[in-house]
């Protein structure tokens, strides 16, 4: 059993905009290439060119189809990674203390030196956000790019998670969700940001911004074109009038 800190000084996390995510997997692959040479063991791939290629990824995108009763079917792209929960069951279940939540910033991290690869944390995570690396035998998960966000070898502007920096549709945002004035907190407030599976009681730090309503047609408003009656005098009458006005 491992304890969680009573509170963290900051709550660093991601805000992911499901209204804007096109499901392109840019975040998924950029995360992989940064982290495979970064914190902890590399992210290995098994049978990489064979019949059943599998590998370790810290972030994946799933696509779901929804058929609302009052409109055509739609697709929602859902990126999924560790949510850095305040009540992280993956930490409390860890038998060695390898899984922990950082006091400074709230990042949930695995100390791989202590990890025995038992997999309990992955089993306890309701989000399926952890993956055991088959080559290294240790548990891998999103580190919020802990080796980028404070990294003095990177220009200040690049000190953000790789997935955020690379996202081409700007659907991913990084910041301190413990600070109500941070840009991520303001986004959550203005866009109705949600906890994922709040009923699990894990108090995720990451938030998701829901897709806006689709097929909204009321904004058409009134215009001369909504009246489909032809203009007086028919099209040619309209044309003469319109040319007259041009002078």
């Amino acid at each position: 059993m491992t304890s969680l800190p009573a509170q963290t000084q900051r709550k660093l996390g991601l805000v992911i905009d499901l209204d804007t995510c096109v499901g392109c997997h840019a975040c998924v692959v950029n995360c992989k290439e940064w982290n495979t040479g970064g914190y902890g063991a590399s992210l290995s791939d098994q049978d990489a060119y064979g019949a059943g290629p599998t590998g370790t990824w810290l972030n994946r995108v799933h696509s779901y189809e929804i058929s609302p009763p009052d409109g055509p079917a739609q697709i929602v792209h859902f990126p999924r990674s560790c949510l850095h929960c305040e009540d992280a069951p993956c930490v409390t279940v860890c038998p060695t203390g390898a899984s922990y939540k950082r006091v400074d910033d709230g990042i949930v991290l695995v100390n791989e030196d202590w990890c025995i690869g038992c997999g309990l944390c992955a089993w306890s995570c309701p989000y399926g956000a952890r993956e055991l690396d088959a080559a290294a035998g240790v548990m891998k998960k999103c580190t919020l790019c802990v080796d980028r966000i404070y990294n003095e070898n990177l220009p200040e502007i690049d000190r953000e998670p790789a997935c955020v920096r690379t996202c081409p549709s700007r659907a991913r945002h990084f910041g301190d969700l413990g600070d109500p004035d941070s840009h991520v907190s303001r986004l959550v407030a203005s866009r109705g940001g949600m906890d994922l599976m709040a009923e699990q009681g894990t108090k995720p730090v990451n938030k998701y911004l829901p897709p806006r309503a689709k097929q909204k047609t009321e904004q058409t408003g009134t215009t001369r074109t909504t009246n489909h009656e032809p203009p007086a005098g028919g099209f040619l009458g309209w044309l003469d009038n319109a040319l007259e006005k041009l002078g």
Partner: protein, 946 residues
């Protein structure tokens, strides 16, 4: 036990890299700037270049997987010569000297005897200004890149209509537009700029309308979805036009200023000039001044032109203004939304409402920028007025046999709304707009050991520019610029192998291909293609005698070549993304860029462009040897810096002149490539403020464009609502003029070449084949390249056929079942997945996932080779036989664009076996891999982790 008091210390500032090298991505055709982090001589990490105009720091999944592409086990290792039968993949390694001498022996013989017997075609080539110049200097008429089977309809319709099209030619004004419609775009063309643009629209709450049979990707985040039936986009657009005309919501002032709306069209049914413009004695089109009722050159009448009314010309013939013909045509009830709904699958109310919304946004939410500018007539304008509706479209609307006219219809809609080159509308990127008359006409005038007099590809103005023999037969192997498809401005690469095999119009001696997987996913009917590539004459020789191929990887096409010239990866090569080619400019700036070897090859491979220059020098081609006969260029980098297409104009526009300060025009700077490297791999020059909009008619822009060398004199564009070259081809089909089409093509030309955009069904309705089947390119995979990429193939290693729920229910199909999909041409067995967010008559799958066993260094059992499949097997390069002995091409009769998306099919359940025991069909015999198989497990970067 752990708690807050004793947490592990983490090194939060580890070393990232030894050095950052800035170059240009090549994981697709988007050409983003990348920062390649080097560590210990290897690639540690690739990220987007924040300063780069294309991607502004972001990078897609493909770009981020560049490490796996660069180190792919499928990379070719050395030049190869075939030792087995074609198709087997058995090769022997040879030296570069032997390979080049072998190529020269073949190429020199053909050049001395009959240069047309060389067909040189390039695929995903980003060096077309070099490859086309090489082919021109060699003197074969048979050169083109892959545009003919990609999106030539889009490019041709755009250039002819308004001097440019989408993507490289222009883009929406993302920062100002207030309503955006996107037609027929999966996640490509172009990738990151569209995503960045959409994010800007989302931030501002701008309405996005997705017109696409499939609601994935960009269409998934659109506010409104228009589930159009494939091949009917043109009809939908013309219904929008019908609604705008009915309501009078069009920009008349814009039409009078910038289009040929007032030009007079001769009405002389049965006469030689019927449908052509009325001209004055020096050939200027005429208009009627509606205030003075006098005829005068249209460019002097301008805003005073009459837009309706029959006019009697000086010679007594009658004429009417373009606008009246246009209004009459589209006001016809056949274009009413209620009349088109059953074909388009779009409810009339939705079409009517969208037309009203476009009109409201365009005219009631107009944008005014307080920026004075002067137009080409000298009139000064105090403001720039914008109609903030914008559009983007790509292959979904163009890869049909009615695609040219559909693209024209979309441009007509944009122009009627006054939304081209205005704030909030569609904006051209330099060097566009460039009118068709500023482009060359096509050239094929060849003779032994001579260069062609001009470039192969161009824009025909009429029948006089066709490349045909006296008897009307095609001069080119692909029949480009022949009566079969007169305006085939990108050539027809997809017909080359088939035509060469059939000797129609003639056989060839050497087929030379670059970066084009023509035996597989880049061809219609790959099985037939493989048979033609391996077919032999009675004497045992191959029907297509010699095949030279250059590729960096062990693709399917490699197995069919006699001689392989192995290319480098994109991180090992020089390239220039040139304004002479397919530029990377922005609406606000001219820009170009380079690639350079950020890592040196560890194999015996050479950049194809350097090899081509070497071959050119060995052949003694003009411009590739100096006066003493020695090579004029050391390699491609040397060419990039020193080649001049005309005095002062070279491949790169930046850092020209002796002091490197000149841009656009200037003497060559031998250090130019290094200057680009020092500048982050690219160069950019911003357009002056008064020249930022209305480029087609803006005196400030035109002067700037001339100073930059885009053209030598101002080349403003009058938008061609009515396209006279089309009328000229129709007149020829009526039998007028010196060049007339053969009898069997006359009706096709009369029907398709309407000078005003029309819609006709893209394929025949046949109750046997009630469904459409199309492909989309996924965001995380580009062509067939992804299959060798250890990371991307985990995302798209197999491709189900997505089937609408309604069709599943009718056919008794559920997820995991296998089905036969049957077309007139063939049948394939595929895994099925149910989907609702799709047009209910449309099946679809991801493009180019299926692989041939043995290709791409994949191991036996790779899902790409067992579960993956190609829709291509259902598509024939020919239309069904009409019993007339003719080979009718499956392409647009105007441009020859391959009509990939005209496919019609039916679907049937295939047995009850469980999914995992079945394999997709047809199957192809494995090819032998010249590079072996990839390794089992990979842990890239493990030396830096921990």
């Amino acid at each position: 036990m752990s708690d807050g008091a004793s947490q592990p210390s983490v090194d939060t500032s580890p070393k990232v890299s030894d050095e950052i090298r800035k170059t240009t991505c090549y994981m697709c055709a988007c050409r983003c700037g990348i920062d390649v982090h080097m560590r210990d001589g290897k690639i540690r990490y690739i990220e987007g270049n924040r300063d780069h105009p294309i991607n502004r720091g972001v990078l897609c999944a493909k770009g981020s997987a560049g490490i796996m592409q660069h180190y792919a086990p499928s990379r070719l290792q050395n030049p190869l010569v075939r030792v087995g039968e074609r198709g087997e993949g058995k090769f022997k390694a040879i030296s570069w000297e032997d390979a080049l001498e072998k190529a020269i022996a073949w190429l020199a013989t053909v050049r001395a005897r009959d240069p047309k017997k060389l067909a040189f075609f390039t695929g995903r080539d980003q060096s077309q200004s070099l490859t086309s110049w090489w082919a021109q200097q060699y003197g074969t008429p048979n050169y083109a890149a892959h545009g003919g089977f990609c999106s030539v309809n889009m490019a041709a319709a755009g250039i002819y209509t308004m001097g440019g099209s989408f993507w490289e030619f222009g883009q929406p004004d993302w920062d100002r537009t207030k309503m955006f419609m996107i037609f027929g775009v999966a996640e490509d063309h172009d990738s990151n700029p569209i995503k960045l643009g959409l994010s800007k629209l989302k931030e501002r709450g701008v309405k996005i309308v997705g017109v696409n049979p499939v609601r994935t990707g960009y269409n998934a985040i659109a506010d409104e979805w228009v589930p159009v039936t494939p091949g009917t986009d043109g009809l939908f657009v013309l219904s929008l036009v019908h609604e705008l005309l009915k309501a009078g919501t069009i920009d008349l002032d814009y039409l009078l200023r910038y289009t040929n709306a007032g030009w007079l069209v001769i009405e002389d049914e049965g006469g030689e000039d019927h449908g052509l413009f009325a001209h004055d004695v020096i050939g200027k089109p005429l208009a009627m001044n509606r205030k003075t009722n006098e005829l005068a050159p249209a460019d002097t009448v301008r805003r005073d032109a009459a837009l309706r009314g029959q006019v009697t010309l000086d010679d007594g013939r009658k004429a009417r203004p373009v606008f009246e013909l246009l209004a009459e045509k589209y006001s016809d009830p056949q274009y009413a939304p209620s009349a088109t709904a059953s074909q388009t699958g779009i409810a009339a109310e939705q079409t009517e409402r969208l037309a009203a919304e476009l009109a409201r946004v365009a005219f009631e939410e107009e944008i005014i920028i307080n920026q004075p500018w002067t137009d080409m007539t000298g009139e000064r304008h105090e403001t720039m007025v914008g109609r903030p509706v914008s559009f983007h479209a790509m292959r979904g609307i163009s890869a049909h046999s009615n695609g040219f006219q559909t693209c024209r219809a979309l441009h007509l809609l944009q122009i009627l709304l006054g939304s081209i080159e205005c704030p909030g509308g569609f904006r051209f990127k330099p060097p566009y707009p460039k009118p068709s008359e500023a482009h060359p006409t096509p050239n094929a005038d060849f003779s032994p050991n001579q260069s062609l007099p001009g470039p192969h590809l161009g824009y025909p103005r009429g029948p006089e520019d066709l490349l045909i023999e006296d008897d009307g037969s095609p001069q080119r192997i692909d029949k480009a610029f022949s009566w079969d498809n007169p305006m085939s401005v990108h050539g027809l690469m997809h017909t080359v192998i088939s035509n060469a095999y059939h000797g129609d119009p003639y056989p060839i001696e050497v087929l030379f291909l670059y970066m084009a997987n023509m035996s597989w996913n880049s061809s219609m009917d790959p099985k037939g293609m493989m048979e033609m590539l391996t077919a032999k004459n009675d004497d045992g020789s191959y029907v297509i005698p010699k095949i030279i191929y250059s590729d960096a990887y062990s693709s399917e096409m490699v197995a069919y070549a006699d001689l392989i010239l192995p290319d480098t990866t994109y991180l090992e090569r020089h390239d220039c993304i040139s304004m002479l080619d397919r530029p990377i400019c922005e609406p606000t700036a001219a820009a170009d860029s380079i690639r350079w070897p950020v890592v040196e090859p560890d194999r015996d491979v050479r950049g194809f462009q350097s090899v081509l220059l070497d071959l050119g020098a060995r052949l003694g081609l003009d411009g590739m040897v100096d006066k003493s006969g020695d090579p004029a260029f050391a390699d491609y980098a040397d060419y990039i810096a020193r080649h001049e297409r005309k005095p002062g104009i070279g491949p790169l526009a930046g850092f020209r002149g002796e002091d490197k300060s000149e841009r656009g025009r200037g003497t060559p700077n031998p250090e130019q490539v290094q200057d680009y490297i020092d500048n982050g791999g690219f160069w950019i020059e911003h357009i002056p403020d008064d020249a930022l909009f209305f480029k087609h008619a803006n005196a400030g822009y035109q002067a700037w464009a001339v100073s930059m060398g885009f053209y030598d004199k101002p080349s403003p564009v009058t938008f061609q609502l009515y396209l006279e070259p089309m009328a000229k081809f129709q007149r020829a089909a009526e039998g007028f003029g010196e060049q007339v089409p053969p009898q069997h093509l006359r009706q096709q030309i009369l029907d398709a070449f309407d000078p005003l955009p029309i819609w006709y069904p893209s394929s025949e309705v046949d109750p046997e084949y009630p469904l459409h089947a199309i492909t989309q390119r996924p965001a995380a995979m580009y062509h067939s390249w992804g299959g060798q990429n250890a990371w991307l193939r985990q995302i798209h290693g197999r491709n189900p056929l997505y089937v609408p729920g309604k069709v599943c229910d009718e056919a008794g199909l559920k997820d995991g079942d296998w089905a036969w999909v049957i077309s007139r041409h063939g049948r394939i067995k595929v895994p099925v997945m149910r989907m609702e967010a799709v047009n209910d008559k449309t099946l679809w799958t991801w493009n180019a996932i299926g692989k041939r066993k043995g290709a791409w260094a994949l191991k036996p059992g790779a899902p790409e080779t067992t579960k993956g499949f190609l829709l291509n097997h259902l598509i024939s390069d020919l239309l069904p036989s009409r019993g007339d002995g003719m080979r009718w091409s499956n392409s647009d009769p105007i441009t020859g664009q391959g009509a990939w998306y005209d496919l019609r099919v039916r679907i049937e359940k295939a047995g009850d076996e469980s999914s995992e025991n079945q394999e997709s069909e047809p199957t192809t015999e494995p090819q032998t891999s010249p590079v072996g198989e990839g390794p089992g497990d990979v842990a890239y970067g493990k030396e830096w982790s921990k």
